[in-house]
């Protein structure tokens, strides 16, 4: 079973993303409410995908993307950014750092599910 790490500081949004992800297919999901938590989760298992918000306390999504994409152990894991349109500039930076896709909040369940499948089969 493929496993997906969901990094998002809003508990409600996180559980919503989780529900959408689990509906998309047979996925095992792991949640992290902060960037720090995500860093701790990374070595624990081989993730197939990371979905992350940008605006978070402690370290932000861009810093997390940079970490993943510069570490030889993790750099192959595709990443999807889910963020609001306010951070357009930041989203561009995320893609430049190696994120595979971005989804704008509020997102449609179907759009996220399609993006997940596309990114995983690429």
């Amino acid at each position: 079973m493929k496993s997906i790490l969901i990094v998002e500081d809003s508990a409600t949004t996180r559980s919503l993303i989780r529900a959408v992800v689990e509906e998309a297919g047979e996925f095992e999901t792991v949640e992290a409410s902060t960037g720090f938590e995500a860093l701790k989760q990374l070595p624990a298992r081989n993730f197939d995908l990371i979905i992350t918000d940008i605006n978070m306390p402690d370290i932000n999504g861009l810093e997390l993307i940079n970490f993943v994409k510069t570490d030889s152990r993790y750099q192959g894991i595709p990443m999807i950014i889910i963020s609001t349109e306010k951070s357009d500039e930041d989203r561009k930076r995320g893609i430049a750092m190696g994120a595979s896709a971005y989804i704008t909040k509020p997102f449609k369940a179907k759009a996220l599910q399609e993006t997940i499948n596309k990114v995983l089969t690429a």
Partner: protein
């Protein structure tokens, strides 16, 4: 309401409360970048959240507010009191919109949006023009967010130095160590970015590159941080911009971190111990050398040392004092907002704002006071109609009053509302199985019920009183500060909730007592008297010990029973009477050793859950005693079945 809406509302309310708290913080302390960024994030999160749940009105409103805050954090508009006031007002409107959703409606926020738009047009401010080209390495710049980049530019244009600190930690437990480093860095300047990295790091570890600004030169910082520090941009002196003449610049006042004062007090505390050691040496010298001139000299020097130390101590304690008006100011805002939420009109009066209290305690007592004030507005003050029916003025009244009583400060919150309905309290207590049906309780015992975890007379959780925080938490918090509460209430007339706190916690006088082989400290501020007694004189009423103290039956608690160890088997014993008014008990101890000044040290996280102790203190010759948390022992003692049983 859908269950998902419930989740949305709960999180949205949390976000708004946090935003309100942060707004108060920047209103009082100025626009600190971290604070402004946190408020921006709050509205940003709310926008995303409400969008996901399809509440378009709230999404648009939070988007508009987020944009203003984004401009503020990116330095595109200037900070002003007017802006903060505006944000406070709009925050209330967002609350209103959420309330509407809660009741099944869908808010129309078009008017708000227009107002925000036109307000925003009237704002302008400096835009940072600092270029980063050539100053910093591209690999650092490319991972910064737009906000971080802006902070970097601002700091450079202000002449601050930019530094890079590299730290490596174990991956399993990096967060605590990293948080400590972040705290140190924030104490010296502004932390701009915390970038995790695995470059050049052993497996099992994780590295962090902290980018921060600080006005201090590299040499000074590297003494502190060592080789892990790298200088990216040198600090320079920036010619001060001409500012309008301000009276503040003529002030000789300096702001000092309270932790620095704590350190000074700790040093004084340790000097006090050294002084006691000198006295002990003098005593020993007198025994071997008699009253020789040398011995008398040592005594004199020691006395002079003692006087100077006391002076020093009282001067430092004086610096820590702040007028209670500071707390009242914050409460006033809270009251204004809650009244608006609850739709009640309240006339607020404040007395004794000049009364002084230790800064640390002043900060700690705010939360309990906010809770008490919320209770007064929500449960105490009746609606205008109900008040009119009862022949009262339509406007309710809340009086905040502070005054000094001995070594304590008393803060009262008095309302002229409906008072506590004891019949209702009893009904609810019986329903919840806290009291047997038909039981007759004294007023004091019924008031105790209000402080039992999980007790509430409200059928549903109220908007204003907030969720899940009961009076038990207020009591625990006060007790942690060495304080206690008292309630006076009359049905139909109102309730006065008073909070009594020691003026300072830093250095206290305590009575050292012995029970069996153990010694304990009891803060003198909690003691009203001590008495030598004959143990057989103790009587037993309904299964608990009491002592006839001048015709008053005083409940007696044996410390050896509380902490479960052996006491002396002697017939002679002592009771230490602690507490005030109806909440007095006698503590049974074997021996009294006398008074001593102590500096209480916390027991640390590991022992935090151990009840009954306020901390530990050193009392000469490296002896350590535990200091009793008298309030929690009284509480425990009064709560015991033997006492509440009727």
């Amino acid at each position: 309401m859908k269950s998902s809406d419930r989740e949305f509302i709960a999180e949205a309310e949390d976000i708004l409360n946090e935003a309100g708290r942060l707004l108060i913080e920047i209103q009082e302390g100025g626009p600190k970048p971290d604070g402004v960024n946190a408020i921006f994030r709050a509205f940003h999160t709310l926008k995303g959240l409400s969008g996901l749940f399809g509440h378009k009105g709230i999404t648009d409103l939070s988007h508009a507010l987020e944009s203003i805050l984004d401009d503020l954090r990116l330095g595109k508009i200037a900070f002003s009191d007017r802006l903060v006031e505006f944000l406070f007002g709009k925050l209330d409107n967002v609350r209103g919109a959420i309330e509407l959703v809660k009741n099944g409606g869908e808010p129309d926020t078009a008017a708000d949006l227009d107002e925000i738009e036109s307000f925003r047009k009237g704002l302008s401010g400096p835009v940072s023009t600092q270029s980063l080209e050539g100053l910093l390495d591209e690999t650092i710049l490319k991972v910064l967010s737009e906000y971080e980049e802006h902070r970097l530019k601002t700091n450079i244009s202000e002449g601050k130095g930019i530094y890079f600190l590299r730290k490596v930690f174990d991956i399993g437990e990096f967060d605590r160590s990293l948080e400590n480093v972040m705290k140190e860095v924030k104490g010296m300047g502004e932390l701009i970015s915390t970038l995790p990295t695995s470059e050049g790091v052993q497996p099992g570890n994780i590295g962090f590159n902290l980018l921060f600004s600080c006005p201090k030169p590299f040499e000074e910082l590297s003494e502190y941080f060592g080789e892990a520090l790298e200088e990216l941009v040198k600090p320079r002196t920036v010619e001060a911009k001409p500012v309008s003449i301000s009276l503040k610049s003529a002030s000789t006042a300096v702001r000092v971190d309270i932790e620095k004062l704590d350190r000074i007090l700790n040093t004084i505390g340790e000097l006090t111990l050294t002084k006691s050691a000198v006295k002990r040496v003098a005593d020993e010298m007198r025994e071997t050398l008699g009253h020789s001139a040398l011995v008398l000299d040592v005594y004199k020097i020691n006395q002079s040392l003692e006087r100077r130390l006391l002076e020093l101590q009282s001067q430092v304690l004086e610096i820590r004092m702040v007028p209670i008006g500071q707390i009242f100011g914050r409460l006033q805002q809270v009251i204004k907002r809650y009244c608006k939420e609850a739709g009640k009109h309240i006339d607020l009066a404040m007395y004794g704002e000049e009364t002084e209290l230790d800064k640390y305690l002043a900060e700690q007592v705010i939360d309990p006071l906010v809770h008490i004030v919320r209770n007064a507005i929500d449960h105490g003050i009746e609606s205008a109609e109900e008040r009119a029916r009862a022949g009262k003025k339509e406007e309710g009244s809340i009086v905040l009053k502070a005054f000094q009583r001995g070594n304590h400060v008393v803060i009262e919150v008095r309302d002229d509302g409906r008072g506590i309905d004891f019949e209702r309290v009893m009904r609810k207590a019986v329903e919840k199985g806290m009291v047997e049906k038909g039981a007759v309780l004294q007023k004091r015992e019924m008031l105790e019920i209000l402080f039992t975890p999980g007790f509430s007379t409200k059928e549903s959780v109220s908007e204003v009183s907030g969720r899940g925080v009961g009076l038990d938490i207020v009591r625990d918090k006060l007790s942690g500060m060495g304080g206690f509460h008292d309630i006076e209430t009359e049905l139909g007339m109102g309730t006065t909730f008073s909070v009594t706190l020691p003026i300072t916690l830093a250095v206290i006088k305590s009575l050292v007592v012995r029970v069996g082989d153990e010694r304990f400290g009891i803060p003198l501020t909690s003691i009203s008297e001590t008495q030598a007694i004959n143990v057989p004189d103790l009587q037993s009423i309904e299964g608990r010990k009491v002592y006839n103290l001048r015709e008053e039956m005083l409940p007696v608690t044996s410390l050896s029973e509380v902490f479960q160890f052996e006491a002396d088997k002697s017939d002679r014993s002592f009771i230490v009477v602690v507490g005030f008014g109806e909440r007095r008990i006698g503590l049974l101890v074997d021996e009294l050793f006398g008074q001593q000044e102590i500096v209480i040290k916390s027991l640390g996280d590991y022992l935090r859950s151990v009840k009954g102790f306020a901390g530990a203190a050193e009392i000469g010759r490296h002896d350590v005693i535990l200091v009793l948390d008298v309030e929690s022992i009284i509480e425990e003692s009064l709560r015991q079945k033997g006492n509440l049983h009727v």
